[in-house]
């Protein structure tokens, strides 16, 4: 589904990604861990198409297509979803309005008719229930005045409605209380299927207690320095990142 080959990228002329290789197959869940500033969000953003990141080398195939050639919205309509580490607020725009516009944009792309108002409402309400959110949230402005945890949950609500093929969750677990973490995990797990894949960026093992990854990778200094199974996360929890070769860590220290 996703094939990243030797991906290198710079931000403001600073080299951040230094040759990422990663293959994600349908049905798989990959966790990406790593020290602060190692490039996890940058990688997520490159995949989503963020413009200020310059790809300097490498390629990315998504369902056989050249992902890097696609517009941001095209990637989204093709089923790539990014849950943001820092969700933005959009004053005056109703949450439900955004959901509808997003879903219809995707359906149109797929050649499907727009959902009628009733069907749409039923769908959204079902997902709101799944996320154990208050329906009133639907009618508030996107993320405006939401607490940190509510914003994260709102991201997963959007994901649940859009039913992406490849979901990238950038630290969706940060800032969640224990109950919310379980709910988010439930939302994510409900989407797991042999056709879908997920990349979870996280710092903590506890998310992986609820969403079992197939693979765990450690990103440090712009490279994947280690990959393994779920046990790697447990090891990291115990040992931290001290074992990483300091030359690989270099860029993260040079803030």
């Amino acid at each position: 589904m996703l094939e990243i080959k030797n991906l290198q990228a710079t931000v403001a002329e600073k080299s951040i990604l230094k040759g990422i290789n990663l293959t994600v197959n349908p049905g798989e869940v990959h966790a990406i861990m790593g020290p602060n500033g190692s490039g996890k969000s940058t990688l997520s953003n490159v995949l989503a198409g963020r413009e200020h990141i310059d790809v300097t080398a490498g390629e990315v195939l998504y369902n056989g297509k050249n992902l890097l050639d696609m517009d941001v919205e095209e990637r989204a309509r093709e089923g790539l979803f990014l849950a943001f580490q820092y969700p933005v607020e959009i004053p005056g725009v109703g949450n439900i309005y955004l959901l509808k516009a997003a879903l219809n944009a995707k359906r149109q792309h797929q050649g499907l008719p727009e959902l009628d108002a009733m069907d749409f409402l039923n769908l959204v309400k079902e997902k709101v229930k799944l996320m154990e959110m208050n329906e009133a949230m639907l009618y508030r402005s996107v993320n405006e005045g939401f607490s940190g945890g509510e914003k994260k949950r709102n991201e997963i609500l959007q994901m649940a409605v859009l039913e992406p093929t490849l979901a990238i969750l950038d630290e969706t677990d940060s800032g969640l209380d224990i109950d919310a973490l379980k709910i988010v995990a439930k939302g994510v797990n409900s989407l797991r299927s042999p056709q879908r894949a997920m990349i979870l960026v996280t710092h903590y093992q506890r998310l992986l207690d609820y969403i079992k990854p197939d693979f765990v990778h450690v990103l440090a200094g712009g490279k994947i320095v280690r990959s393994g199974g779920p046990e790697l996360a447990l090891e990291l929890e115990k040992e931290g990142y001290a074992w990483i070769d300091p030359s690989a860590k270099q860029s993260t220290v040079n803030l």
């Binding site: 989204a76 943001f84 879903l103 944009a105």
Partner: protein, 482 residues
């Protein structure tokens, strides 16, 4: 729309073919402005003596005045002797015969705005009778209104059929010498609308989704007068979201509203005059004086405006809160893109006791657009317990546009409560990226963000107008994001 050159120069450079004296029958009079011009206009319109005197008085006052310079708008000086001050409404004979003959770019815009098919044709200047029988629609409409005793007609018709109302109210809200442009308008006004709602009558429909088409040929010096008698209610819609072109570059309209005891007037405008091309060439100069007088106790006047057009906008719809417990409101969205300039705002003049005013102004600048909000809240000594709430937000797109806020507050009564909030924000790259990541196109994303920003104003517009206005903002901002 940028490729159509204006016809102003062409018209201005035309030599006049007729002598001065014999012109009553002809379509246009020579350019230039003098007492004779004013007399000629009045004669052509067959106006009563009092109106001619009124115009002449305005003209004499105007001669002694100079254009205001305090507004932050810049344009070359206007030669007032180089303008034609009267031309009869154009016949549609020369217009296109069907939609096939209309500029496809223009049609595309109408489509984007969701303008109904038959209206598109009319707006594009296709002869009306080729489209539908407008007369019958107009007649049904008029019957319904006259049943209730409502007068809704062109200003010229009102002068002929209801001179006593004109005499009683004209110039009582905007005195002829109020400002340079109002004085000019008073001297040479062409036509406009007149509305009178009798006591106790609630106007059963919005004036005037249909008439917005008919009102097209009112010329560059439009004059509107709306009177809501005791306990009456009316909601009036001016303008149209479709791009309006006009060969006259200078527009100086005057609108006067009078609300008597316990009456309510809601006046909504969507202004979308030609803004000029990307360099700002050829756009309309829109210098408007709009004022409402809450003359009776418990009366209410509410202005809602969406301003997206014109090269230059100079406009401050105001309310004089004379009656005790009267209410004034101003809700405004102004958008400037490319080289557009707008200096707009409002004045709330509190005179009566317990008077209340609300100002919500949303300014959006893109491109090299430049805009200023200028608001005056004056609480007179007599206005015990007056209250004002002002909220003034600016949204910037890109870093070459400018937004300024100039709030003026004068309080002469210590019991007044005046609240002012202001904010400036930029459409963030983050917001755009977020929306696009959810599958929206960049243009839809901008339009959604901007409409969110304007929500408090749009909710004041009549429903279908609001829908059109939302689309209009989207269309007006096209191309303003990468």
């Amino acid at each position: 729309m940028n490729n159509t050159t204006t016809q102003i120069e062409e018209i201005i450079s035309q030599e006049y073919q007729h002598g001065f004296e014999t012109d009553v029958e002809s379509d246009a009079i020579p350019k230039g402005l003098s007492e004779d011009t004013v007399r000629l206009i009045s004669a052509k319109k067959n106006e009563p003596e009092f109106l001619l005197e009124w115009r002449l008085n305005a003209f004499r006052k105007w001669q002694a005045m100079t254009p205001p310079e305090w507004a932050d708008v810049h344009y070359p000086p206007i030669d007032y002797q180089d303008i034609i001050y009267y031309s009869a409404p154009k016949s549609q004979k020369d217009g296109p015969k069907s939609l096939d003959e209309v500029d496809p770019e223009l049609l595309k815009t109408y489509e984007k705005l969701g303008i109904p098919l038959h209206e598109r044709a009319i707006l594009a200047g296709v002869a009306v009778d080729a489209v539908f029988d407008s007369v019958s629609v107009a007649t049904t409409f008029k019957d319904k209104l006259s049943e209730k005793g409502i007068i809704f007609c062109s200003f010229s018709e009102a002068v002929q059929h209801h001179p006593e109302l004109i005499k009683q109210y004209l110039g009582t809200v905007v005195p002829v010498q109020d400002n340079f442009y109002a004085a000019l308008n008073s001297a040479v006004f062409s036509d406009g609308s007149f509305v009178y709602i009798p006591p106790g009558v609630r106007c059963p429909m919005e004036l005037s989704t249909y008439f917005r088409i008919n009102a097209k040929n009112t010329g560059q010096f439009e004059r509107t007068l709306i009177i809501a008698d005791k306990d009456a209610y009316v909601s009036y819609l001016e303008g149209c979201t479709a791009p309006m072109r006009d060969e006259n570059q200078l527009h100086a309209a005057v609108v006067e509203l009078v609300a008597l005891d316990n009456a309510t007037i809601k006046y909504s405008t969507v202004q979308n005059w030609y803004p000029g091309d990307k360099e700002g060439r050829g756009g309309i100069y829109n210098f408007v004086t709009k004022r409402g007088d809450c003359r009776g106790p418990k009366s209410k006047i509410s202005w809602t405006q969406v301003e997206t057009g014109s090269a230059i906008t100079w406009k401050y719809p105001s309310v004089i809160l004379r009656g005790d417990d009267s209410v004034g409101e101003f809700y405004s969205v102004a958008l400037t893109n490319h080289r557009q300039q707008a200096d707009t705002g409002t004045k709330m003049i509190h005179i009566g006791k317990n008077t209340k005013s609300t100002i919500v102004s949303k300014g959006i600048s893109a491109g090299f657009g430049k805009q200023s909000y200028r608001g005056l809240v004056r609480i007179a000594k007599s206005a015990t317990n007056a209250r004002n709430y002002t909220q003034c937000d600016s949204l910037l797109m890109g870093d070459r546009c400018i937004a300024n806020t100039f709030p003026y507050i004068e309080v002469k009564n210590a019991s007044a409560q005046v609240e002012h909030e202001a904010s400036t924000s930029r459409i963030g790259e983050d917001q755009l990226f977020f929306c696009r990541q959810r599958g929206l196109s960049a243009e839809d994303a901008v339009s959604m963000i901007v409409n969110g920003f304007c929500k408090e104003v749009f909710k004041e517009l009549p429903m279908e107008f609001a829908v059109e206005a939302q689309k209009l903002l989207g269309v007006s901002l096209e191309g303003s994001v990468g």
